[in-house]
């Protein structure tokens, strides 16, 4: 699992926010576009792309994309 790909897959769930705004340090909840639906699509993306199940509590623990990556990787 590559961090770079994870950030890309994360960014793909957004439509309005510029792709270059996404880095491992990005606090994704600060984006205006962030919504509970995007949160759900992140959970489903992790399942589809990596075959790993995360839940809303896992999401809550992550403030940045990099932190979420670490949580997902720990479950791999």
């Amino acid at each position: 699992m590559e961090l770079k790909d994870f950030v890309q897959n994360f960014a793909n769930q957004f439509d309005e926010t510029d792709a270059e705004m996404f880095t491992p340090e990005t606090k994704f909840r600060d984006f205006e576009e962030w919504s509970s639906i995007i949160g759900l699509s992140i959970i489903l993306m992790v399942d589809e792309e990596y075959g790993i199940t995360i839940d809303a509590d896992d999401m809550k623990q992550a403030e940045t994309i990099g932190e979420l990556f670490n949580i997902v990787q720990a479950k791999a």
């Binding site: 793909n12 439509d15 919504s35 639906i37």
Partner: protein, 250 residues
Amino acid sequence: MEYNPYSLEGKTILVTGGAGGIGSEVGRVCSKLGARIVLTDNREDALQSALSSLVKVDGGEHLAVNADLTNADELNALVDQIPEIDGFVCNAGVMKLVLTQFITEEELTRIQSINLNAPILLTKALLKKKKIRKGGSIVFTASAAGVFRVSMGNAIYATTKCGIDAFMRTVALEYGPKGIRCNSVNPGMVETALIGTFTEEQKEKEKLNYPLRRFAQPEDIAQGIAFLLSDASSFVTGTALKIDGGMTLS
């Protein structure tokens, strides 16, 4: 005479079942309204014939892509090779009259796979790969059957169209905030090969159920679809548009 909110100029529109009775007519009507058309079907000869019947437009060459949408590889290859689109007419479908006690798992699976699974999976792939532009419009060819009425011998078909209706409304809900609309047209009987399983006598009797005393021509359905693709319907989403000559009124 500049005012034409129904114009499809500058739009690219993908039509599945593009070689069939309704699909090929959708291509012709939309090309007359200025759209660039991408037709897809798995019947090569009919597909080429439908392609050659399109009116030339300024927005680029029309395309025809042969694909069996029940095959995941062919579905994904289609999505990868088409340009970005403004309209998606999800129209391919089959029908077979079977009384409930004669339903086989094989036929159930085949019809569901064409009428329900392929439309859902193709819509998913187009959305995931961001092939549908903002301001885009998705139109399903559903049916009066299953959504507004049921009739004997039509359980499988009606069930798949009922499923399309629920899917259409869900996509409208999920993608409205992203500026993508989703609707369906719901025809009654249309004069195409699909209703070939009815005898002439059955058809004449059935027409008495239509206040307008005829079945739809493919053009009647295609024009409804063109409306839902155009900016004239900018505030219409999640709607099942009956085009049935009044058949479901009684």
